[in-house]
């Protein structure tokens, strides 16, 4: 989820990729700062809806992580 309005400057994962807790997924740049979006849980990346250069709104869903059971 985007923490504030800004531009996506990096997408470090691909759909279906397996990620661990704390892994950096996406970087949104706004207010001269990089805001790092990290995985809260381990699982696989699903519904990745943004690419580099996209403008996103605060609280916009950027991707989801499917946890163990669904893999």
């Amino acid at each position: 989820v985007a923490p504030l309005d800004g531009a996506v400057t990096r997408v470090l994962v691909e759909p279906g990729a397996l990620v661990t807790v704390g892994e950096l997924l996406i970087v949104v740049e706004a207010m001269k700062m990089e805001h790092r979006i990290e995985a809260d849980v381990a699982g696989s990346v699903a519904n990745l809806s943004v690419k580099v250069g996209d403008q996103v709104k605060s609280r916009q869903l950027l991707c989801e992580i499917a946890t163990g059971g669904e893999v």
Partner: protein, 549 residues
């Protein structure tokens, strides 16, 4: 309530090592400027010895209590301005700071006559005015070791003011403020070590105590050359304004010293006659060091300033026991408020982990009110890229809420001390108490950047505005125009990067000095003592000041 911060910093990590390297190199660059300034002074040593004089820093060393702390202020004032060369002539011809003389905390001003004769230029005037402001506000006695060649009419002023007319008028404020200080009961003790002509003569004469130095003091309204030009009279400097003449005939001076060392000794004795400093209650209590080593502050700020910094990590290396009672942490994590102790003194800390939102502004405003209510001084650890922008926050009243925070910060009755840690941009710069809101002191880390907006953003804004202008006038830009705009925007970006840089800003006294991050706790504790003591000092006001009758 007060919980110790649990640090997550790994000092062996790649990031910490890289940050440390960046900051150490930056600190070394600042020390390099100070070193070149000192070398200029030292190069004067043979001539000083010939005349039987001490160097300015030798005089300072004799004046201060041995082993007591001394904080130098605005050490790199004027760096790379006018005719300065990488710091060789920096410092505004003044070595100044707060230290102890005969166990009295004093504002100490030593004229650096070894740099261009200690002549007065716009840097010197600006630094003097700020030092006097500190003396007023902190009610500190002023000890000056004076020796100045007077006004510097060469390259060292504004380009538009070649004859120093503005400087002359602006510089006059120094004399008015000296008179006001005396009337306010703030004692000024001055040693006249050498040349004190015209304006310089008033800097000496408007002091409450004057110590003259035999065969060195030359104190007069007009020296031999001007006298010859003005009236045709010929007289020697000694006849016109020597120490002996003033001590025995004119009465412009109370004490006659045999040499520099003797004069400084007399100044120390005069300080010993002043009322003792107030004793702060915390002094009786044991002081707990931070749980994390303050030296680790060297590795916490990244060169890439877009990287987020957890300010709790910095707070953990500044406050007693690393204990921080965070206020409303869950409400808006981007604005950090909380109570802690620094060297035994309770403080309210306000800092930034992200842009200031309406909720963050309100949280900080409420926190300031609560600190005011319990007479707790405020410490601002500034790392702000500004107030959050956008339709959503404008609709929430961002302008109104940010204005309110500025009101709180400007009008709090408690001491406020600001450390510019990193980003200090936009209205956030004001709201987080930098110079504009008159905190008692502002010190800056080398990583500090002060500007109305980021360079890249300013360049971008220029491009957008110009493109809109073209569209409105129906101009279809060709390749050349586009390239020109691109170049202009790049220039703005680069220009703002230079203008916001910490050494550039400190040269222009947009702070009271740059500090090594590792000294942050010590500096804050010292400055808090100054500001808290000021509230207990009771100078005896006199309506016209102490006059020489």
């Amino acid at each position: 309530v007060s919980q110790a911060i649990a640090s997550r910093v790994d000092t062996a990590s790649e990031a910490f090592v890289a940050n440390k390297k960046y900051m150490e190199a930056y600190v070394a660059k600042i020390r390099g400027v100070e070193k070149r300034q000192l070398e200029t002074e030292l190069s004067y040593l043979p001539r000083a010895r010939e005349k039987g004089k001490l160097l300015p820093r030798e005089r300072l060393a004799l004046l201060l209590d041995p082993g007591a702390p001394f904080i130098e202020l605005n050490s790199i004032a004027g760096y790379n301005m006018f005719d300065d060369q990488e710091g060789r002539y920096s410092g505004g011809k003044l070595i100044a700071g707060i230290g102890f003389v005969s166990r009295r905390r004093c504002l100490v001003i030593v004229w650096n006559y070894a740099i261009k004769g200690g002549t007065i230029d716009s840097v010197n005037v600006k630094k003097m005015l700020r030092l006097q402001e500190i003396a007023f506000r902190q009610k500190l006695p002023v000890v000056s070791l004076h020796e100045s060649g007077g006004g510097n009419l060469s390259k060292s002023s504004e380009a538009m003011d070649p004859w120093a007319a503005q400087l002359f008028v602006e510089g006059g404020k120094i004399y008015g403020q000296q008179a006001e200080l005396s009337a306010a009961g703030i004692v000024q003790i001055t040693v006249s070590h050498g040349n004190a002509t015209a304006g310089g003569a008033y800097q000496v004469a408007l002091s409450d105590y004057i110590v003259l130095v035999r065969n060195q003091t030359q104190l007069f309204l007009a020296g031999p050359p001007l006298l010859k030009a003005g009236t045709g009279e010929e007289a020697s400097a000694e006849e016109l304004g020597g120490a002996e003449m003033h001590a025995t005939v004119s009465g412009t001076g109370e004490y006659l010293a045999e040499d520099d060392g003797d004069a400084v000794r007399i100044a120390r004795e005069l300080c010993a006659q002043l009322p003792a400093d107030p004793v702060l209650p915390h002094r009786a209590l044991p002081i707990e060091p931070p749980a994390y080593d303050p030296d680790e502050l060297i590795g916490l700020y990244p060169e890439n300033r877009r990287m987020p910094v957890m300010m709790q990590e910095i707070i953990a290396r500044i406050v007693d026991g690393s204990r921080f009672d965070e206020f409303n942490a869950a409400l808006d994590a981007a604005t950090v408020c909380g109570v802690a102790k620094i060297g035994g003194k309770q403080v309210g800390i306000i800092s930034n982990n992200g842009p200031i939102t309406p909720a963050g502004a309100n949280k900080a405003s409420q926190f300031i009110q609560l600190c005011d209510q319990k007479r707790t001084p405020l410490v601002f650890l500034q790392n702000t890229t500004g107030f959050l922008i956008g339709t959503a926050v404008e609709r929430m009243g961002q302008v109104k809420h940010s204005a309110k925070l500025i009101q709180q910060v400007a009008n709090t009755k408690q001491p406020k001390i600001t450390v510019l840690v990193g980003n200090a941009y936009g209205a956030g710069n004001y709201a987080m108490a930098s110079r504009a809101l008159k905190p008692d002191f502002v010190v800056a880390w080398p990583s500090a950047r002060q500007a109305l907006m980021g360079g890249a953003q300013a360049g971008q804004v220029m491009k957008i505005i110009t493109s809109i202008g073209w569209a409105r006038k129906g101009i279809e830009p060709d390749e050349k125009m586009r390239a020109g705009l691109e170049g202009q925007s790049k220039m703005i970006e680069m220009g703002l990067e230079v203008l916001s840089e910490s050494m550039f800003c400190s040269a222009r006294m947009m702070d009271d000095g740059l500090i090594d991050p590792r000294d942050t706790r010590r500096v804050l504790s010292f400055l808090l003592d100054v500001a808290l003591e000021a509230r207990r000092r009771k100078p005896q006001a006199l309506s016209y000041g102490a006059q020489r009758l």
